[in-house]
Amino acid sequence: MITSEVILKSLGEVGTTVLLILIGTVLVEALLYLILMKWLKYKYALPFMLLAPAAIGLIALVIYPLIWELRLSFTNMSLKAFRDPAFIGIKNYVRVFTEPVLKQKMFFPLLGQTILWTVINITFHVGGGLGLAMLLNRKMRGKGIYRAIIILPWAVPQVIAVLAWRGEFNFAYGYFNIILTKLGLPGVQWLADPVANFAAMCMTNIWLGIPFMMVTLLGGLQSISSEFYEAAEMDGANAWQQFRNITLPLIQPVLTPAILLGTFWTFNNFNVPFFINQNELESSDILVTGLFRAAFQYNRYGFSAAFAFVIFALLLLFTIFYMRYTRSLKGAYES
């Protein structure tokens, strides 16, 4: 049921907020216009004015919380020191590496699991996405329908998708075990067995992630002119040689950032590992679920802040190396 009262109330709330943002933006822009443009006559006045609203928002909602967390990471805040935590220096950072971050698991084995999880997922996302994109990058009947259906998992809200998949991993009622038993094989304990549970997590996330890769790579493939392939065929190149020497290098500018983004998203994916791992197996945790458990299940606030910065630093290091190595982002980020 829906009442006009609810309609009006939410419209009013949203409307006033939009108005608030608008007024704020106008004020900021007017101020910047007067200072930068009229007074200082600054060369970059216009770009700074264009950036200002986004920058202010990001400072308030990203930079400020980061600084808050940074401060927290140097304190011993937990349930036992809740109201007035003490400053303990870098002790939390030391503990991330020297003490179990979960119940028993240490940091490095957990990092290993996370890397394994990320590598498996990205490999299948790229492999599956590229394969499907290549199959669809041709004139054929029903192309639009195939494309539309294959994208659908992307449209399913992640939490709902994960709950649906979790049901399929049930020992007696899940689809996978029903198929296995019909084939005369023993059922798999998807939720209890560490290896099977890890596989279950990967299967779910692969299903969720392939559409994004496929769509991105299809865009890249379509921008490759068919003349390259025709020339290669004249020279007698076979399918593998064409793939290796034309498709891969030319799709590289799309592939590299897509892999980078996919890595961040997979590395930081919370929903899939957290909800598929119903039995709290430590072997199915990754860094971000470990972080959540430390912060919210065990209330180790100071420790978890330090833990979060370590994860953040790891990804930053990875990005720097990856960008150096592939160099293709240079074009996008430094030109």
Binding site: L58, P157, Y333
Partner: protein, 293 residues
């Protein structure tokens, strides 16, 4: 037929009508299997929503159970405030997606066309925001919202959604702007347009695919968002968004699975429609900042 097409194509992964019938059947077969895998879990949710009573688990594998009923849909549509949840989500989602696109479109323009001081730092920062684990910012943002009196209203939520979508949107849009030659804007300026007019009248219309993608991404992010909405809105009956509303069907141990699934199917529909409409743009607009013109 042009001269180019006279050579028969041999490559498996390329080209169209010259494929051998066997290969064509094989390709269709692979695609059909992929479609089944893609759609099957969704059909299973549909099956639960059609089951009478409140049964998640059943040995029954049929997509349309023999005793199928629309009872769960009737309850959720007419006895639960489901429509107001969806309406609230729509109001928040559409407004934040639009504002997010506007903020990102202007910021991306600055990044694409000027080499102002601090530009590289800014770009690296935008990339870095994608690496922040979401749960890391929850507590400080909640405390900030409490202090600003933004809990229990849409104010904090709308602002937060607009802002958090900016980095990724700027990434997509800047990449797309980079593929559009500057000459076009310069030509417009010679015709008497100001820099801003050139941006609005030349660059923006040319960037429609990327703008559509950005909107879609922002829409998806806000539409599905749950954690932030949970802490910011509490559970004020009239303000709930659909993820919070569906969550209310889950008790500590018990869940109204039938209604939950019916609701899930219903909220997927708008997004699917949006995807089907924009699937053309999806492919041309997602250049991810790599492809140079």
């Amino acid at each position: 037929m042009s001269a180019k097409h006279t050579t028969p194509k041999k490559s498996f992964f390329r080209s169209g009508r010259e494929d051998s019938p066997f290969k064509r059947i094989l390709i269709h077969l692979v695609l059909i299997i992929s479609c089944v895998i893609a759609i099957f879990p969704i059909l299973r949710i549909l099956a639960v929503s059609l089951r009478p009573g409140n049964r998640l688990m059943s040995t029954d594998l049929a997509i349309i159970p023999p005793d199928a009923t629309l009872e769960s849909y009737r309850i959720i549509l007419f006895e639960k405030p489901f429509l107001s949840w969806v309406w609230n989500s729509l109001a928040i989602t559409i407004s934040t997606a639009l504002i997010g696109v506007i903020l990102a479109a202007t910021a991306a323009y600055a990044f694409s066309r000027w080499k102002f001081p601090g530009r590289s730092v800014g770009l690296v920062f935008l990339l870095a925001t994608q690496m922040i684990p979401a749960s890391m910012l929850m507590i400080p943002i909640y405390i900030l919202a409490i202090k600003l009196g933004m809990v229990g209203t849409y104010r904090g939520l709308v602002i937060a959604y607009c802002v958090t979508s900016i980095p990724f949107s700027v990434w997509i849009l800047k990449g797309y702007y980079d593929t559009i030659p500057v000459d076009l804007e310069e030509a417009a300026r010679i015709d008497g347009c100001s820099q801003l007019q050139a941006f609005l009248r030349v660059l923006l219309p040319l960037s429609t695919p990327a703008l559509a993608i950005t909107f879609l991404f922002n829409f998806m992010a806000a539409w599905n968002e749950y954690l932030l909405a949970r802490v910011m809105l509490g559970s004020q009956e009239s303000l709930l968004t659909w993820p919070l509303g569906l969550q209310r069907l889950q008790g500590q141990f018990q869940t109204q699975w039938g209604q939950f699934s019916a609701g899930s199917i219903l909220v997927m529909v708008p997004v699917m429609v949006l995807f089907l409409y924009s699937s053309k743009y999806l492919i041309s607009g997602l250049t991810l900042g790599g492809v140079k013109g």
